[in-house]
């Protein structure tokens, strides 16, 4: 009786220690980081719909896919295709620039740095509270990505090209990438952003 008691107790203790240590390693490897905990909340919308969050109002008119980008002095061919998203963005709180991201098939695309000056995100005037601007965001996407049927377009007003921290509410517009909704052209000249008059 005595021998079995102490053996059982020993086995239970060792087993508990091993399980606790393994669980600690498991949890420690999977802790969320501040950017996961403070991740943005998304306000969904479709093309043509005005999506309002406390910091930004966004309306996407549509998207176009082009092979070549017409700049002032030259024509830039895409490594893939150019996807130009046209929309109106209004800041509701304060000054900033209209940054955006395109999410296609789990991959994140940022506006290309060869887009002409004046297109979003860095428009000629910074975005200010209550004054909307109409313009385009220019993305470069590889060919095979365009076979995906939909894409998510997210835009926000801020000072950084990263998504702001502390639970921002970001509009997320669903774009249909088929020929009917997103026309294909061979050449496109993206216009400068202009203040929307009301």
């Amino acid at each position: 009786m005595k021998i079995r008691n102490s053996l059982a107790r020993l086995v239970i203790r060792l087993g508990t220690v091993a399980v606790l240590l393994a669980a600690a390693v498991f949890v420690a490897d999977r802790l969320p980081y501040p950017t996961d905990v403070e991740a943005p909340f998304l306000s969904s919308g479709t093309v043509g719909q005005t999506v309002s969050t406390p910091t930004v109002t966004l309306q996407v008119q549509g998207a176009t896919i082009a092979d070549k980008l017409q700049l002032v002095s030259r024509v830039v061919a895409a490594n893939g295709h150019w996807l130009v998203v046209e929309g109106t963005i209004t800041s509701r709180r304060g000054p900033g620039y209209g940054y955006a991201q395109l999410i296609i098939g789990g991959r994140t695309y940022t506006p290309d740095n060869r887009a002409p000056t004046g297109t979003f995100p860095v428009s000629m005037q910074p975005l200010t509270a209550g004054i909307g601007q109409h313009g385009v965001w220019v993305f470069e996407v590889p060919d095979e990505v365009l076979k995906t049927p939909t894409a998510q377009f997210r835009a926000w007003v801020g000072d950084l090209s990263e998504i702001p921290r502390f639970f921002p509410r970001i509009p997320s517009i669903t774009l249909d990438l088929d020929d009917r909704h997103t026309p294909r052209v061979s050449r496109i000249a993206p216009p400068k952003s202009v203040i929307v008059t009301s």
Partner: protein
């Protein structure tokens, strides 16, 4: 035997609530929270952040309309607030639905510690930043004795492009650490 029973009965009374567990836990929690709060001004890590936060919410000086306040050796008072749809001096006319608001702040005297500032027009949660002299399409150049820089002497003038539905309440002058140095209420 009877004295034993009465002694026993007197001991079996309800204890006062100060010895209850919930009371002791509550007192401990209050003390813990008070200690954490008291540690903020003392903690090396927290006190600078807290001071910067307070400075960004509470202006160091406030100038009311019609009053004159001495700040840093200068007398500050609100000069005038004008709205233009089209200013002859600005490069562009204000688009439809917006207006150019020009705020003049009278300053006399010399500052002992001139510091750079950025001007914001405030309405509740919304802010508009002052137009830049270099490249600002809606910048109205100040008169000869006025300037747009806080470091220079003389009165200040700031131009803001605001929407028609704006009812601004104040102009905040913000320093490089995002602390509000002067709030001029309109």
């Amino acid at each position: 035997m009877s004295t034993n029973e009465t002694t026993i009965r007197r001991r079996i009374t309800r204890p006062a609530f100060t010895s209850r567990l919930w009371f002791k836990n509550g007192v401990g929690a209050v003390i813990a929270v008070a200690a954490l709060v008291a540690a903020i001004p003392v903690s090396v890590y927290d006190r600078d952040d807290f001071r910067a936060y307070r400075a960004s919410r509470i202006p160091a000086h406030t100038v009311g309309p019609g009053t004159s306040v001495g700040i840093d050796g200068q007398e500050w008072s609100l000069g005038s607030v004008r709205q233009y749809g089209r200013s002859p001096a600005a490069r562009r006319a204000a688009p439809k639905g917006t207006a150019i608001t020009v705020v003049q702040i009278s300053r006399s005297g010399t500052a002992s510690h001139p510091a750079r500032c950025t001007a914001y027009l405030i309405e509740g949660d919304r802010r508009w930043r002052a137009e830049e002299a270099y490249g600002g399409d809606f910048w109205v150049p100040p008169a000869d004795d006025a300037t747009g820089e806080c470091t220079e002497p003389g009165s200040l003038q700031f131009s803001f492009l605001v929407p028609d539905d704006a009812h601004p309440s104040a102009v905040d002058l913000v320093d490089a650490d995002r602390g509000i140095t002067v709030r001029v209420r309109l």
